[in-house]
Symmetry: C2
Subunit: 112 residues, 2 copies
């Protein structure tokens, strides 16, 4: 019996934003959004950052394959997540890229 190691240590904050592009089939827009998201890794409060795109898994009732790009971050604390929000680099990303997406949904989790 094995046990898979964690993705992230308990106590960390898992912060994700799911993006739906205005032009879902447009590679240029998707690349521009991904490039913008990468700049967020320069914000001191962001402990870890990965960007991902929808994977081609089997179609099942429970699978939502409607999104385009996901930003996954880890923060050391809720305070760091709060302080990240108004950081100039974060605000600059929103100003530069918000025309690219039609919808964004954010999920905040505590790793247990």
């Amino acid at each position: 019996m094995t046990y898979a190691p964690p993705v992230a240590e308990p106590g960390l904050i898992l912060h994700q934003a799911f993006f739906w592009l205005k032009n879902p089939g447009c590679e240029t827009d998707r690349s521009a959004l991904i490039a913008g998201l990468r700049t967020l890794g320069n914000i001191p409060q962001v402990r870890n950052l990965s960007i991902s795109v929808r994977a081609s898994t089997e179609s099942r009732d429970v699978v939502d394959a409607s999104f385009d790009v996901v930003e996954t971050m880890l923060f050391a604390s809720l305070e760091d997540q709060r302080d990240y929000q108004p950081h100039p680099t974060h605000l600059a990303f929103i100003a530069a890229c918000e025309h690219l997406w039609e919808r964004v949904v954010v999920y905040d989790n505590l790793i247990v």
Copy 2:
């Protein structure tokens, strides 16, 4: 200028299931679901596993704070994700715990 290290290496499959409990305020049900999810870490294809619960971040239009529990897994490949689905431990988890949730949504991502 720093750059945050990744949450997961490019090429890995980020597989997540978001759960909405039938009894969202019930600690017993939430703990039972979390305990069930932990057993999935014994499935050989599951490379990494973390469980998380909704965090109390600020209320904003874009934040969806309606879910209760999230399972976050990493797989080495799409094939491993596929082979995980019919694994007896996965099926046993579903049989034992599906009465606890009202809704589940799965997202499959490729880390880039």
